[in-house]
């Protein structure tokens, strides 16, 4: 949102950063596994718990790092920890 990217450009950008195709972005199975591997956060489901999945702030930290974008809440969190942002 902050970059004001149009949707097709945004999909290509994200796919490239994640190392997948734009078609993969539409596949919730692929993205569920990938988000788990990259610790980007995923939907909670009671019968398949992942207790070690990241907290939302950790997930957003990984999203910001991986995609090379600035996320306001992550920057605020990092400032609070004294590690930049």
């Amino acid at each position: 949102m902050s970059k004001g990217m149009r949707i097709q450009e945004a999909k290509k950008y994200v796919a490239a950063k994640l190392g997948v195709t734009t078609r993969d972005l539409s596949d919730n199975l692929t993205m569920h596994e990938l988000r788990g591997e990259l610790r980007m956060g995923r939907i909670y489901e009671g019968e398949t718990t992942y207790f070690d999945d990241p907290s939302p702030l950790e997930a957003k930290y990984h999203i910001a790092e991986r995609l090379g974008i600035s996320i306001n809440s992550v920057n605020r969190f990092k400032r609070g920890l004294g590690i930049g942002g």
């Binding site: 990217m5 149009r6 949707i7 734009t22 702030l57």
Partner: protein, 344 residues
Amino acid sequence: MEAQVPTRMGDGSLVELTRSQIRAELEDGTAAAAKRGKVEPLAQDELDHLLDIFASAARFTGVDIGDEVILSQDGTGQPQMGGQIEALYQTEQIICQDSVEACHMDYSYPAVKTIVPMEQAAMKEAQERLTIPVHYGAQPDLGRYSRPNGPCGNWSELLPQMKIDEARAAQEEAMEMAVEDMVFVAESLWEAGADGINFDTAGAAGDADFLATLRAVEKLRGRHPDMGIMVGMASEMVLGTHGQLEYDGVRLAGLKPHGQMEAVQKAGATIYGPAINTNTSRSVAWNSARALTYVKPCMEKAEIPVHLNVGMGVGGVPMYGFAPVDAVSRCSKAAVDILRLDGL
């Protein structure tokens, strides 16, 4: 005898029309927008595609795999059970939205400015509980600055009394206050960690309301280069309640979606959301064709994402509190397929 297809009217009522009747509705809807908006009507192949969508008897429809767009919205976090933060979390986890928007029930920047610290606390907690972007939104709500609620003259009363100069002066006075309040609230919530700010129903009180929003966006963009800013409109045409206001040399009164978008882009917003109001006496097909005709000229010139408002009473969707999913899904697919939108 031609088979009848279940479809909806703009008030949500279920009716049955033949395929030919639906085709006629689509052609009439695009013609109505072309005439009033002075834009090109939809092409025949586009109308053919819309006919396939609206003449389907399916309970639900969707875009093709690979054509998914981003969903932004106003006013999430209204709890059915629990509190605001739980509602936002449920919107992420159960409804699976792409983003949410924290807000106050009194969805108005002049109202929210009085309780900003509480909204900041809620935003901070929301950012710790959710992974998807959490925006903050409200309406410019220029009318609230007029008497008896506010300090300025009431232009709604002054205009029928033919006190035009006084009405314009009252709006100009209200604008200054509105800009200050919008910037104050937006900066406060940005400081609390918001991922973006939404100015919803910009222009609802006319051209002064729209200009106040544009000026607020300009100021925020100047101070915060990274801030995501969404401007959602109130209707397909900006009312000339003042009549003489301009932005960057362009008269705001009477602006249609493509003109609105250019102003919003110039001001520095990062998402533009046109709103085309639903005619409750016409069919959903008519309303959808009309809405898409109005918005189509935006798409070639858009430099920022365009998220058409497709919700209660806008974008072809019926004006009804519980919008039927058959109508919502058809209007959504129609908008994405024809306009190649960035989002809804």
